[in-house]
């Protein structure tokens, strides 16, 4: 600071040589001190009163308004946020319930369907078994019937063959006995 002042004073000296007309510090001339004091007091008092009574309350009012508004808006935002959260929860719950319901219905329908299918399958199987049994019986009947026919045909063929080979008739009963004997031996092969 001292260096600064010395520098200024040096510059002052140069300055005063350059512009010789201006000398001294008017600040230290007491001629207008009273005037400056008076006008400063007057102007500053007016400024102070107008600021204190008029401008500052207005600014403060406005700042308070804004703060309140922001606070209210924040509160509203929080309220809405809570509301939306509870709605979301409700929505999720409804969704979950619906899912459970769907599962339940699915399971039930599956069970009933399974039961029905089983029942139908059983009845059909029974019917099929019956049919098969009937068919087997028919087949065995036909087989049994066919044996006697075959025996008769074999007897005839045998007697005819013997007749055509040897030229005489054989006893029908002996042929019958032989055929029966042979057929009994071979019956297992065909039945």
């Amino acid at each position: 600071m001292g260096k600064y002042f010395n520098f200024i004073i040096a510059l002052f000296a140069i300055q005063n040589n350059l512009f010789a007309a201006e000398v001294g510090m008017p600040q230290l001339d007491p001629k207008y001190w009273a005037s400056q004091a008076f006008w400063l007091t007057l102007v500053f008092s007016i400024l102070y009163i107008s600021i204190a009574k008029f401008y500052l309350p207005k600014i403060k009012n406005n700042l308070d308004n804004r703060e309140n508004r922001i606070k209210d808006d924040l509160e509203d935002a929080n309220k809405f946020k809570e509301l939306s959260e509870s709605k979301l929860k409700q929505y999720k719950k409804i969704l979950e319930d619906a899912k459970k319901e769907v599962m339940k219905i699915h399971l039930e329908s599956k069970n009933t369907l399974d039961k029905e299918i089983k029942k139908k399958k059983e009845t059909i199987e029974k019917e099929i078994e019956k049919e098969i049994e009937k068919a087997q019986k028919d087949i065995s009947d036909i087989k049994k019937n066919s044996i006697t026919d075959i025996q008769k045909i074999s007897e005839n063929i045998a007697s005819n063959i013997i007749e055509s080979i040897s030229g005489d008739k054989l006893n029908e009963s002996s042929i019958k006995a032989t055929v029966e004997d042979v057929s009994k031996k071979n019956l297992g092969k065909y039945l």
Partner: protein, 239 residues
Amino acid sequence: MQQFSVHKIGPEIQIAGIDLSFTNASLFMVISASIIMLFLFIGTKEKKIIPNKIQLIAEMFYTFVAKMISDTAGSKAKPYFPFIFSLFMFVLFCNMVGMLPYSFTVTSHIIVTLIMAVFIFIAVTIIGFAKHGLKYLSIFVPSGVPVVLLPLITIIEIISYLSRPVSLSVRLFANMMAGHTMLKVFGGFVISLGLLGGWLPLGFSIALTGLEILVAFLQAYVFAILTCIYLNDALNLHH
């Protein structure tokens, strides 16, 4: 230094034999105060939730000064907020108006700053005694000082307290005067060195103008914050 000289404008006003004429200094006080009031008028005209530029600047000044007071002097200083706000604005705008070419810097006169400083000094002393009575004198006796040193410290404290108005006023006055003198000197160099060598001081002049605008703001701030600190000493008695 012609820029600091005071001269009469209009008729001579004499009250009880004292010359109270309207001068160029008075004119620039009126101009600064008018600019402040105009600025605040425009700044508070529209009460918008989302402020326009001037309203925003006015509110920034408000919060700036409010924060300065609450930081240095606490909540007890709230009643003095309008005064400190007015003081800050007045000093700031006087300094800034003084930066305009051909204008007059009100705060570069010791009498102006001294009157403000003395007023603050007296007001703070009255507030101190009114709040704490004779206990306010304990401001001169710091706690935690060895008994041997106490008389010396007390004398130093009293001197520092009494020199407050001087230091407060001279700080502002000297800063403003020195700055303007520097600008004037460099301006003189520009002319005397002419087209050949005048460019260097011209550059200095431009740089110094920027510096002086900073100083103008800084000194207003320092003046206001020191007022807050003195107020704090008077309001919250703990040393």
